[in-house]
């Protein structure tokens, strides 16, 4: 049977927790023995999603962000959820360089970064209910290759 594991954390939407969130996820994922590059990809994607929750989901007020991570074999699934404003137009939000807050000097590249660094990104959002980002990535098997 496939190796499976699961974790869930909940924290306040403070910008100090951006580094906390990506380090926790990276540390959990480390049990799959990812490359430094894969780990950097995952940390960056998590950082983008958490930053979005803080800036756009909650307009910088202190509310709850939940992260769940599932490991199934060599597949990692990361779910990042806020219960804030929600995204009105997901297709528009996904466009490279689009930002709803140009005054903040944001690049509008958050979703593009997530989509580039992860294999799959799903966005579920409802106005005034919140946003749920599901990201998946397959960690390449290296040393363990011969076992299968």
């Amino acid at each position: 049977m496939n190796f499976q594991n699961y974790m869930k954390i909940e924290f306040l939407s403070k910008s100090q927790n951006e580094s906390f969130a990506r380090v926790v996820v990276a540390s959990f994922v480390s049990q799959l023995d990812p490359t430094i590059e894969e780990l950097a990809d995952i940390k960056t994607a998590v950082s983008e999603a958490v930053t979005n929750a803080i800036i756009h989901g909650y307009d910088n007020s202190n509310e709850k962000i939940v992260i769940e991570c599932k490991i199934n074999g060599n597949n990692i699934e990361i779910i990042i959820e806020d219960f804030g404003n929600g995204i009105e137009d997901i297709e528009l939000a996904r466009q490279p360089l689009y930002t709803s807050k140009p005054e903040l000097e944001r690049s509008g590249m958050g979703f593009t970064v997530m989509e580039t660094f992860m294999d799959e990104v799903f966005i579920k959002s409802e106005k005034n209910k919140g946003t749920k980002i599901e990201m998946r990535k397959r960690i390449r098997i290296r040393a363990k290759e011969n076992e299968e």
Binding site: S15, E18, S19, E37, E48, S107
Partner: protein, 111 residues
């Protein structure tokens, strides 16, 4: 995150040591802009050999400074970007407007 600023002629050399994300970007932006305004700066070189992490907040910081420096008729360069930073900068097309140099000296020569 630790920011080190050096001035050489009218070029500001910005060493970003540590992690650049939305949280640290605020301070980085403020410190650089204060230096630009108070030290008669025309150009900026970002020296990134000790940058441990960067997300898309880094794009905002660099493009924001580029806009400010362009108005002053100056140039912006980056030095010692790792592969991860390069991928993020390329995604946003940063190297179409900002030059990348292999050493700080080369960057300074071209400012």
């Amino acid at each position: 995150m630790q920011l080190k600023l050096e001035v050489e002629n009218n070029t500001l050399i910005v060493y970003i040591n540590g992690e650049l994300d939305h949280h640290s970007a605020e301070d980085v932006r403020e410190d650089i802009d204060t230096a630009i305004d108070s030290k008669n700066i025309k150009n900026i070189v970002f020296e990134l050999s000790n940058m441990k992490f960067m997300d898309s907040s880094g794009i905002g910081v660099v493009i924001g400074r580029y806009k400010k420096i362009s108005k002053l008729g100056g140039r912006v360069g980056v030095v010692n970007t790792n592969a991860h930073v390069d991928r993020i900068f390329q995604m946003a097309g940063i190297y179409k407007i900002i030059d990348k140099y292999s050493t700080k000296e080369k960057a300074l020569e071209n400012m």
